[in-house]
Each structure stands twice: as C-alpha cells, then as structure tokens.
C-alpha cells in the first residue's frame, strides 16, 4: 500500500500541510484539527523537527469495536453513524494523528492535499510495508 511519508530533513515547519488538511477536511483553517502532526521547534540542543503522518498501519481499524473505521482501496474510511465516540482509535494510533473532535474523530484519508501544499517535498506518497 502507498501512504503519506514524512521527510524531516526537508521540512521547514511552515505547517501549510496542516492548514491544508484542516481546510480540506474540516472546512476551516485550524492546524490542531489536521490529521498529521508536524513541528519545527528550537530546544536547548538546536532545531528539532518532528512529524507524524498516517502510514496505514491500520491499528485503528483493528481497534474499532463498531467498524466505523475501515480500510477501503488503500485508504481509511470513517462512518460517523457507526462511531460511538469511544476514543479507542485515538489511543491506539501509533502515530497520534487521529483527531478527537467535539463529535467524532478525524482520520487521514490519504487525500494528499497536504503533500500538494508542501513547498519542499517533505511529504510524499510512497509504498509502505508493515
């Protein structure tokens, strides 16, 4: 399967990816609602770049008790009707990129909007193995 892949050495921390994700999937610009996490921050040791994206590990699909999250044709599909807001998916996601919203969750659907906005090629869509 192909999935979003992050290359920290190319990232400038502009967060256009997260603005794009929230705009595309939530209808407003709010980095906290983005289904990927990217940060570029100075620590005592210098500049630390960290990023997490959905790599289709599917832990959420396995954990979901109601089948609200499923994998269809290499993408996650989420059904709000089936979701009981149990929060299991959020807690098992190894990348921490499932967003707990006031109602329901946001999962990455590999729409690639983030990669389309990345100015440096730090986000790509590549074959992943688990």
């Amino acid at each position: 399967m192909k999935a979003l892949t992050f290359h920290p050495e190319k990232c400038t921390g502009c967060n256009l990816c997260r603005l794009a994700c929230s705009g595309q999937n939530e209808g407003l610009f709010s980095p906290r609602l983005a289904r990927l996490k990217i940060s570029s921050c100075y620590t005592g040791d210098g500049l630390e770049v960290k990023g997490h994206t959905c790599n289709l590990d599917l832990a959420c699909v396995r954990a979901c008790p109601t089948g609200a999250i499923q994998e269809k044709n290499g993408r996650l599909a989420y059904d709000r009707e089936l979701c009981t807001d149990c929060g299991l998916c959020v807690s098992v996601c190894p990348n921490g990129v499932i967003v707990q919203k006031k109602e329901g969750v946001g999962v990455c659907v590999q729409c690639r909007t983030c990669a389309n906005w990345c100015p440096t090629g730090a986000l790509t869509f590549e074959e992943v193995s688990h």
Binding site: T12, L16, G23, R32
Partner: protein, 584 residues
C-alpha cells in the same frame, strides 16, 4: 469570517480583562496589522505621553489573512508610541504567535497600564490569567522561552530579555528564540509594563467562504507567484545575499558609514554562511522559509540577517563570521535590536578613534565588541552610556555629524550616498530611519534606476510607502514581492467581497497620513525629516561610490517634492484637503 471580530483588552494596572467587538469601520479603512494598530493608538493615546509610562499601550494586531493558508501571512504587528523616537511605532514579527492569537479568538490584544510586579500574560482561548514572572526576570529570552515551553504545552510566546526590562531604547521583543519585533524600543514598552511574556493558545480556526475552491486558487498562486524566481532568494540564501549586492554597488555601511565597501565582505557574505547552514525554518504558512539556522565554530543562531551582517559586521569593522554570529545570538537572547546596537557600537568606535570621546572600543576589536551587548542590555559600565542610543550620545559627547540616525532611530544597512532614494525613505519613514517603509535600494543601487539623482525618487518613495503599508496591514510578509493587484485578488477571496487594487492604494495612503498625523500631534515637522550631516558633507572614499555624497540642496528638493506629491504643506503637515480626501 476571517476576522474574529473580537479585541482582547487587558489592563495590567488593575487586572481588568475585557473582550470587545473589533471596530468594523476601522478594519475596513485600515485592514489590520500596521494600519489598524496605528488607528487604535491614534484614537486612544493622548498626545505627549511618556512612552515608558503606564499610559502607553502595547497593541498586538493580526490581519484578515492571519491564521489562513494564504502564503506568507503569518506575521504580527506590534505597536506603541516609541521610546526611542517619540513617534508612532509599529514592528513586524514572524513565528507562530499571530495565527495562535486568531485561533484563540482575537484579532488583537491591547495591553494597558503596568503590572505591580513582573508578570506573564497567559491567554488560553477565552481564559486570561496573569502568572508571576519574578523567577524569569533578569533572564535571557532564550532561557525563558525554553523553560516556558516545557511547562506550557501548545502555547506560543512573545518575550523580552534584560534589555526590555532595563528600558533600553533599542530593546526588541522576541519569539521562537530568533524572531524579533526589532525596532524603536518596542521591548522597552513591554518592560515598562512589567510584562515579561505573553503566552497564547487557541483551539479555534478561521473560516473563509468557499474554502476548497479558494485553496485550489491559492495553491496555484503559491506555486506561480510566491515561489517565483523573484522571491526564491529568501529560501536559497535569505537576506545575506544582499552583502554582495551592497559591496558591488558601494552601499555596504562600513566603519560607521565612513565607507561603502568592506575589504572583508567575503568573510560575512552568503557564500560564507552557506557553509555554516544547518537547517531552514519558516513562519507559519510561509512558503519561503527565510530562517537560516547556522553554526560556525561554537556560535549558533538563526540568522544573521543582512542588517546584522552590515551593521554588526562591516559597520563595526568586524570581518569574523563567528564573532558576528555570536554577537547576533547575544543580542537575540538579551533582546537588543541588532541594527541599533551595531550602530551605537560603531558610533562609539569612531568617537574613540577620532579622539572625540574615549569609549574604550575601536573598529575591529572583536573581544570588546562581544562584551557590548550584555553591558548595554544591563546598562553596566560603558553599556550604561551606549544604552542611550546614538542620538542622545551625540548630544552628550559630540560627533553629531556622524550620529547615523533619523528621529532617534539608528540607520539600517543601505548607504544613502549610493542610493539617493534611500535617503528620502529614511528621512520620511514614520518611525525614523527604517528600510521597511520603502526600499528604493532595490530599484536604484541594485536595479536599473540611476541611484545618483533625485529625479522621480519622491514619487517612488511615496508609492513604495503606500504599497508597503498595505502589505504590513493585510498582513503579507515583506519578502513576497507581490503586486497590489495580487493582494486585492487574495483579500477578495478571503473577505468574500470584491477588493480593488485602487482601494488598497488609498488604504496605504490613509495609513501613512494617519501615521504622519500621529507624529505631527507629537510635534514632529519638516525639521525632523533630515539625515545626519555625514550623508551630505563627507564623500565616500572606496569602491563604486567613491567621491559620492547626497548634496543637501538635492535632498531639500527631493523632500519638498515628496511633500507636494503627498499633498502636504512645505512644513510636512498633512493638509485639511488631504484629511478630507482620505476620510481621516
């Protein structure tokens, strides 16, 4: 909508916090950022107040684009009456604070009064609290911000260092360690309020009309306009690439503006810095990532920008890159503006060398030079004198002829004798000698226009000032050279109503006239719009500008023409008809 419609007002004297509606008429007339903050200050500050008294107000202003995906829209305007000049003062700072303030639900934060003891103002959406900052008082901005980000997850910060605490008129405000609201002593205003830091965290977002459609259009603009060859210098080398341009055109300030070229320029230029580059860093929503995190020997910094390389490098006779990087880091940590600090050190060096007054430091003396930032920020030893700034020092000790300042603000890195329009830009900028209100060097020294004529320069400067006022109000980063038409196109998308370029031009003009009215009310007139005598009297001696000066009578003519084009009288006063025309 893209404005949150709310302004947070905090009075540090009595702890009163209130959320009030944004003045929509003003937002329409002044957009946001620079323009809108000046409008609030003009309406709310009585004339003649002491900038370091509780009566001054510190305004943090976002714009209609802040927090959206519009490329290069992440900057914040920080405004107050300037303690360095007594003029209106607005600064621009990058990082992530501005979008976060919007996500917390506010277009602006107005800080009034003075806290009884050092505080940190913490804003978490609607919840506003004051925290004790006593443990951090006296500490550098770097140590403070690193400590705060350990305990306050998700917050973004604006801070001051010892320079601001000690009310030094060249103190800046810092964010993310290496971003600054630099000029005019804005950090001293914060310090005068006993405000060590502002922390903000927001859980909200910004809604705009037809968001998906707009995103497609904006991404095309980002690829084709923002990331065009005209702007990519910001990503590749950033501002250090200007060192070579200035050297080759003879406008690189050297040894307190005695010369326009520097024999060691290759030690402090973009090529030298390229070897030191560790990583690139951008502000939120910025596609150009001008931030260069560099390491040379033991010294690290994000920077140095061109202004620092020029004023703290060549202008101090320092051709040692590691030393300039370390000087830059010290200034950032202590929160000193590198333009003014480099200038004041260079002035002291010339005073000493010329035997006018012995400040104990000469051009090129690296060790002493590196001691200066801490002494100035803490007002210790010779630093207690240098902390007065160039203008006050010249009044006290002489050397007025080469006190390189306008209205009390020290001069940036573009020699006006080799770029005559720059002289007018410095003379007429609202906050004193500033290169960000208009930057004619780009088209004269570095471009095709004749740099040694006043022909057309008044109009050039006026137009640049008006267009830049729009950019700094919308808010777009200065490093995106975008047209007014493009700004109008983007604002139309985000505001959901048609905005025309002509309308923006009028807004830019309105902002500059209001800034002038503010200064006029403080007593500024034509006599304050002049350059230091050196520019008119001392011929440069090296490189392509050897033998050049900017004759005083030419400057007078250019200034008069500028007033005429502005529709001001010959004292530089805004006329009644102009006030009426612009609806001021």
């Amino acid at each position: 909508m893209s404005y949150t419609g709310k302004v947070l007002r905090v009075n540090l004297s009595n702890g009163k916090v209130q959320s009030e509606p944004l003045n929509e008429k003003w937002a329409r007339d002044y957009l946001g950022g620079k323009g809108l903050s000046i409008k609030y200050l003009y309406e709310e500050l009585p004339s003649g107040i002491d900038p370091l008294s509780p009566e001054n107000k510190l305004i943090l202003m976002t714009g209609p684009l802040t927090g959206t995906i519009v490329p290069n829209s992440g900057k914040l305007a920080v405004a107050a009456k300037s303690p360095a000049t007594g003029t209106i003062l607005d600064c621009s700072i990058g990082g992530r604070f501005a979008p976060e303030l919007k996500y917390a639900g506010f277009d602006a934060l107005i800080i009034e009064g003075k806290a009884g003891q050092p505080v940190i103002l913490c804003i978490d959406d609607e919840t506003v609290k004051l925290r004790d900052a006593t443990p951090y008082w006296g500490k550098g901005a770097h140590e403070t911000e690193l400590a705060l980000q350990e305990t306050m997850a998700g917050y973004k910060f604006l801070l001051i260092g010892p320079a601001g605490e000690n009310l030094v008129p060249m103190a800046c405000i810092s964010s993310e360690l290496y971003r600054q609201a630099g000029r005019g002593g804005i950090g001293a205003v914060m310090g005068s309020k006993n405000l060590k830091a502002v922390a903000v965290r927001g859980s909200g977002g910004i809604k705009v009309p037809d968001i998906r459609k707009i995103m497609v259009a904006l991404n095309k603009i980002r690829r084709e306009d923002t990331m065009s060859d005209d702007n990519m210098w910001a990503y590749t080398d950033g501002t250090p690439m200007i060192v070579d341009l200035s050297q080759s055109t003879g406008i690189l300030p050297t040894r307190n503006f005695q010369e326009g070229t520097f024999e060691d320029y290759q030690k402090i230029n973009a090529e030298a810095l390229r070897k030191a580059l560790q990583a690139k860093k951008a502000c939120l929503a910025c596609t150009l990532a001008c931030g260069n995190y560099v390491r040379q020997g033991k010294a690290v910094v994000e920077g140095p920008e061109y202004e620092t390389l020029a004023l703290c490098g060549s202008n101090c006779g320092i051709g040692d890159l590691e030393a300039v990087i370390e000087f830059n880091r010290l200034c950032d940590d202590l929160c000193l503006d590198t333009i003014s600090t480099g200038n004041v050190v260079a002035y002291a060096m010339e005073m000493t060398e010329k035997g006018v007054h012995d400040f104990g430091i000469r051009f090129g003396e690296v060790q002493k030079y590196l001691e200066m930032p801490a002494l100035i920020a803490r007002r210790e030893g010779i630093g207690a004198e240098l902390a007065l700034g160039v203008r006050a020092l010249a009044e006290k000790y002489g050397g007025k002829h080469f006190a390189m300042q306008v209205k009390g603000l020290e001069m940036p890195g573009y020699e006006p004798r080799g770029s005559w329009g720059m002289g007018l830009a410095y003379g007429t900028a609202d906050r004193g000698a500033c290169h960000m209100r208009a930057w004619p060097a780009a088209v004269e020294a570095y471009g095709d226009l004749d740099a040694f004529t006043i022909e057309g320069k008044a109009e050039l400067v006026k137009n640049m000032q008006d267009e830049n006022a729009v950019k700094f109000s919308a808010i777009f980063c200065d490093f995106w050279a975008l047209s007014l038409e493009r700004q109008a196109e983007i604002l139309s998308m985000i505001l959901g109503r048609p905005v025309e370029a002509d309308e923006l031009k009028t807004i830019g003009e309105r902002i500059n006239n209001l800034a002038r009215l503010f200064n006029e009310r403080e007593g500024f007139t034509r006599r304050d719009d002049y350059l230091p005598e050196r520019i008119h009297a001392d011929k440069l001696t090296t490189g392509p500008t050897a033998g050049k000066l900017l004759p005083k009578e030419e400057y007078e003519k250019m200034l008069s023409e500028y007033y005429a084009i502005r529709g001001w009288d010959q004292d530089g006063k805004v006329t009644e008809s102009k006030i009426k025309e612009l609806g001021l």
